[in-house]
Structure formats: C-alpha cells, structure tokens
C-alpha cells in the first residue's frame, strides 16, 4: 500500500507547502500592512449614516453553513457580524441580523453579545437583534417587510449567498439603504455588482475578517497567503510557457 493515494502526491506536498507558508506568515510577517478594502471602510461609513438618520443597520450572512464548503465564508461573515455589532454598540446604532441557518445562531448571538460587552453596552444588547427564519424564501420575505417597515439605513450582505442575493440587494436598494455586499460564490457576484454600492470580492472577505480582528497573527496569515499566491502564479507561468513550447511536463507533474 502506498503512503499517499496516487494522483494526490503533488496536492499533498503543495498543501503542506501552503501550510508552512501560512505558519511562517503568522509567526514572522505580523507587521505587514493590509491594503485598504473600500467595502470594509464603507461599513464604518454606513454605520455613521445609520446613526445620523436614526435608522437600523441590517446584516445578513446569507445561506452559508459551518458544515460544508461554505464554512470559511460563514466564519468570515460571523467575524464581521461581531465587528459591526461592536461599532453599532459604540456609536448607538440599532442593529438587526437575520439568518436562516440554525446552527450558526449560537455563535452569532454569542459574538454579538461579546462585542456589546466589550464596548461596555451590555444593557443595550437584546436577544431580538438576531432573528432566525427557517429557509431562504422566508428569509427574504421577512427581510423585504423589515426593510420597508424599519427603513434600514445600511444593508450589509456578506457571506455565502445563493439565489436570495438578488432579492435582498435589489429590495435594500429600493428603500435607499447604503449597501455593502461580499461573497466568494461567483454565481452571485453579478447580482451584487448590479445592485450594491460597495463590493467585497472573494478573497477580500477573508482578508476583511482578519483585518477587523486586529490580531497580528491573522494579519500575518494574509502575508503568508501572498507567498502561496506567488507560488501558484509561478507554477502557472512556467506551465503556460511549457505548454507554448509543446511540453505537458508541468501538467503531468501536477497529476502525480
């Protein structure tokens, strides 16, 4: 029996290499500066707008779960929910989070409560901030009513989105909310591009979660990720040149 499954050897070596790069980044590249992410800066602006207008800030993390391929997006969304909770608590904005995945509920309630406590506004925390709806259809039906009734000032749609994206984004725009969207699901990006004011695209969402954490290790991991990206780009360029010269060597090596 071989030590590693055939066809997965290079994948395993590359995964270990990426792992090492990220660990290196987390340990040694902690003083790097992450570039400005306009969508992330717009979150602060939208909360300020909500405070001035006396209207609520709405956040929806989409239909992503913690149990499948959407988990990293959901984790990033939960981290940003916590950040927005802290900002709302600090500046006195009303905050509403609507979700439709039950097992994310305890983590979301906890991170919001933690951030209210952290900013000394525990008395303003209410269990009514998080509202659970059982599926995507009921989520957007409830949200449409909520947007109209509360006239939300800010609509933050960050997470793994499915077909509900276009309805939430278009309806949020119709009530005049400043809209910030972010997802790593490519099929929903066009809907957000068409309807929202600011967009956090794919990888930026994970970087935003690291940036708001203010944790040097997390910021270092973004630098480590850039090392991985450089390796991937180098392999692609070498493979491209090899293919132009009529050699399939790189493609064959990657299949080992």
């Amino acid at each position: 029996m071989s030590l590693i499954y055939a066809g997965k050897i290079v994948g395993f070596i590359m995964s270990i290499g990426f792992f090492a790069s990220l660990i290196y980044g987390i340990k040694y590249l902690t003083n790097r500066k992450i570039r400005t992410i306009p969508g992330l800066d717009a979150i602060d602006e939208s909360i300020g707008r909500a405070v001035e207008m006396g209207r609520p800030v709405h956040f929806c993390p989409g239909g992503g779960t913690l149990t499948d391929y959407t988990a990293p997006q959901t984790i990033a969304a939960i981290a940003l929910i916590g950040y927005v909770a802290g900002q709302c608590a600090q500046r006195g904005a009303k905050y509403i989070v609507t979700i439709n995945v039950a097992h994310t509920l305890p983590a979301i309630e906890e991170i919001i409560r933690t951030n209210y406590v952290k900013h000394g506004k525990v008395e303003e925390y209410s269990s009514d901030i998080v509202r659970f709806l059982p599926d995507q259809v009921s989520l957007f039906a409830y949200d449409m009513d909520l947007f109209e009734r509360e006239q939300i000032a800010s609509n933050i749609l960050i997470g793994a989105y499915f077909w509900e994206a276009i309805v939430l984004a278009e309806y949020g725009g119709s009530v005049g909310a400043l809209q910030i969207a972010g997802t790593a699901r490519q099929s929903q990006l066009p809907a957000f591009v068409a309807s929202c004011d600011y967009l956090i695209i794919g990888d930026e969402m994970y970087a935003s979660a690291a940036k708001v954490s203010d944790n040097k290790g997390q910021i270092g991991s973004i630098a480590g990720q850039d090392v991985c990206r450089a390796i991937v780009v180098a392999i692609m360029v070498i493979g491209f040149i090899a293919a132009l010269l009529g050699s399939g060597a790189i493609a064959n090596i990657l299949k080992i």
Binding site: I4, T67, P72, L105, V137, I166, E170, D203, Q225
Partner: protein, 207 residues
C-alpha cells in the same frame, strides 16, 4: 459555562477533526473513509439539533411581539406561530392534512415568492446595462452577446454564437479560474487560522 468548555474545548475538537479529515483525504488509513462518513453523520445530527434553537428563537421573538402588541409586527408573529403549530401538529398527528398543507399552501406561496428572483434580475439588468464608461460598455457588450448566443436566433445569424461561446470560454473562464484560485487560498488561510486558534468566530469569538 467555563471558559474551557466555551472556547478551548470546541477549538480542540475542531483541530483534531480538521487534521484527521485533511490527512485522511491524502493518506490511506485503515477504516479512515468509514470514520469520515461517521463524522459527517454526526455533523448532520448536531445541525438538526440546532433547528430546535432556531424554533425557540422564532417562538421567543414573535411571542414577545404578540404579548407586547408591537405595532405592525404582532399579527405577523401570530400568523407565523399559528402556521408553525398547524404544521407541527398535522405532521405529528394528521399526516394527510400535513401533506395537503405542504402541497397546496406552502409550495404555492414558496413558488410565488421565488418569482421575485426573476423580476429583480430584470430590474438589476436594467440598471447595469447603462453605458457610463468604457468598462460598462464592455460589460454590456459581453452580456448582449451572451444573451444572443443562448437565444434560438443565434444559429441563424453568422458569428454570434461563436462570439458568445468564445467570451464564455476564454476571458470568462480565465477570470473565474483566477477568482476561484484566489478564493480557495483565502479559504485555506481561514482553515489554518482556525486550526491555530486565531480565528474564533465559529465559537462566538469570546476570549
């Protein structure tokens, strides 16, 4: 609940499961696939148990609105709780009634609401398809070419289907693959941050 049970214990479980599944994907471990499948079943079980928390959130929020007669909300709450009770009781005691409610009310309402998706796609397209600058012109050109390439007329007009297919296969695929690779690296980084206990959002983020 102690800090250990709230944060360190879930992180320990996460790290053990994450590394086990990672290595099991690459390295042949006797009985490994069976254990991975069992872990998957546990995940489904725990997720379903969490539905109870969702139901409690619904009852608490809407129950409070009904009791406090919250303006413009209490009657929504009453409808939601009555519907929940009707579906729960009929599902438990009167299966034919449950099937009838599901097929004739739930499915109909669901389908009607899903129609919003199509409607809003058209309104979003209308806003997007305005040529304000060169980039929006390229977007408009690519979208119209793709629309025509997928319409029955494309076969009769020379070149249109080919242009649409080329846009989808060459610049479109290239851009999406670059996006996917970048997003995949981001996912990998989140997993490593979580494995090292740096990313704690999934535990509620408490220290």
């Amino acid at each position: 609940m102690s800090n250990f049970m709230r944060t360190q214990f879930p992180i320990a479980i996460f790290i053990i499961c994450q590394f086990y599944i990672f290595f099991e994907f690459f390295i042949p471990i006797p009985g490994g696939p069976a254990l991975t499948a069992l872990l998957g079943k546990w995940v489904v079980g725990v997720s379903n148990f969490a539905l109870l928390l969702g139901a409690l959130n619904l009852i608490r929020f809407h129950g409070k609105n009904i009791v406090q007669q919250t303006k413009n909300e209490w009657y929504h709450g009453a409808i939601i709780l009555a519907s929940m009770a009707a579906m729960f009781l009929s599902g438990w005691f009167f299966k034919p009634v449950y099937t009838w409610l599901y097929a004739n009310i739930y499915t109909g309402l669901n389908t009607a609401l899903m129609c919003y998706v199509g409607f809003y796609f058209y309104s979003a397209m209308y806003k997007t398809f305005k040529v304000r600058n060169f980039e929006s012109f390229i977007t408009l050109f690519a979208c119209i070419t793709m629309l025509i390439a997928n319409a029955p007329i494309s076969g009769t007009v020379w070149g249109l289907a080919d242009i649409g297919v080329w846009i989808a296969n060459v610049p479109g695929s290239g851009a999406w693959r670059g996006f996917l690779m970048s997003a995949a690296l981001g996912m990998f980084a989140v997993a490593i941050r979580a494995a090292m206990g740096l990313e704690r959002a999934y535990t509620g983020g408490s220290d």
